[in-house]
């Protein structure tokens, strides 16, 4: 069964963020499953799913090491130059992990650009993204590999979540095992 990476957008104007993965036989099933698993609670306005093997992924360490970059499945990263002219261009989404502080998401969408390969897209993204030097990891995804939730689905898929809050432990009328006057 294919593994799909799931990207969730919390609100209009916010970036899609990688939130985890689901297993499904096809894109539509992956999308519905992703809605169950990742959009059950607030907040979401859009979901993308991408087959995991369509993602070109590089950590900062890999980028720093030319050997590692060359070992990738796609063309070598062409640092600082644009060798794309005259070759087939396609659109790529570029995502970046900017901080270790976030535990619930991995990379955030930073932009979309045309390039001849994922590696070329990443090279251009590194050149053009502000604070690129501080990035911890990058993902590059062909736009064509993304299956997105439809805007028309939002009322059925995402809005009911607004009424489903997490039930806090304190809301359960349970008798504490230790009487409160003994708790110090």
């Amino acid at each position: 069964v294919t593994r799909w990476e799931v990207f969730k957008q919390d609100a209009a104007g916010k970036p899609h963020q990688a939130v985890g993965s689901v297993h499904a036989a096809d894109a539509e099933h992956a999308l519905v499953t992703a809605a169950h698993v990742f959009a059950r609670r607030p907040s979401a306005v859009s979901l993308w799913v991408v087959p995991a093997d369509a993602i070109y992924s590089r950590t900062a360490q890999e980028l720093a090491s030319r050997e590692a970059a060359d070992a990738g499945p796609a063309a070598p990263v062409a640092h600082g130059s644009n060798h794309d002219a005259g070759t087939h261009q396609q659109a790529f989404h570029v995502f970046r992990k900017a901080s270790h502080r976030r535990s619930m998401t991995f990379v955030d969408h930073v932009g979309t650009l045309d390039a001849s390969s994922p590696a070329a897209a990443l090279a251009r993204a590194v050149t053009h993204t502000p604070d690129a030097a501080g990035a911890l990891a990058w993902w590059v995804v062909p736009v064509a590999a993304v299956t997105a939730s439809a805007a028309a689905d939002a009322p059925a898929w995402f809005e009911p979540a607004k009424d489903k809050t997490y039930k806090q432990q304190a809301l359960y009328g349970a008798t504490p095992a230790v009487p409160s006057d003994r708790v110090r």
Binding site: D26, A35, H36, D153, D163, G173, A174
Partner: protein
Amino acid sequence: MATAHALSANLQAPLVLRLTAMADDELILGHRNAEWTGHAPLLEEDIALANLAQDEIGHAITWYGLRSAIDGSDPDELVYFRDAPSFLNAWLVELPRGDWAFTMLRQYLFDAYESELLARLAHSSYEPLAQAAVKIGREELFHLRHSSLWLERLAHGTSESRQRLVTALATAWPLLPQLLAPMAGAADLQAAGIWPDPGELREAVIARARAALEGLGLTLMPLSPASGMSDHRGTHAAHLDEILANLQSVARADPEAVQW
């Protein structure tokens, strides 16, 4: 928001009956779905079924609440302290969860029914009912997407998945008329614009399900026309006792409990 007082006395009993049937259907279906927790074919579907179960039980709470506003009944009392003969759920929802094909087919048939019903209840003259229908109907569209998606994959998956779906259909399809049968006072509720015409609803649900299932190349047996007492809700197989034993045992072990 309209109150129960807006409801004339002769309509209260039929609406209480209808709301109880609706709530019982959702409660029991929710419990059957919840039985998949830890057993679904994929972890992701395990989560999905738990979500569906919670949603259906949440809908049940809404319907019991609407009943409570009319007759002051206590939903907890209705759920935990009624015996099987007082439950008004349809046979379709109380059957054991079976295999994945049966679970998804049953969910689809119930989703198709609920979607058609809620679309009509959204125009109910009884405002609390109309509001609840709009809210629940939104969520039901997502349920329908999930169950429809699975029927398609089971029908076109492998010869085994298709055979399982055919077998599930032989059990579930003939139970549809009871789910759709009118209950006492239906004509009064319809005349007051509170609940839709059961005959028209029945035809709409069957047409919708037939189009979907025949569209998958499945053969459907003819449904016998609604036949009075045989479609009566309130008779149950031993399956319901089994669910209730599970569902009610803790509450009944200490009926006076105010805290656990």
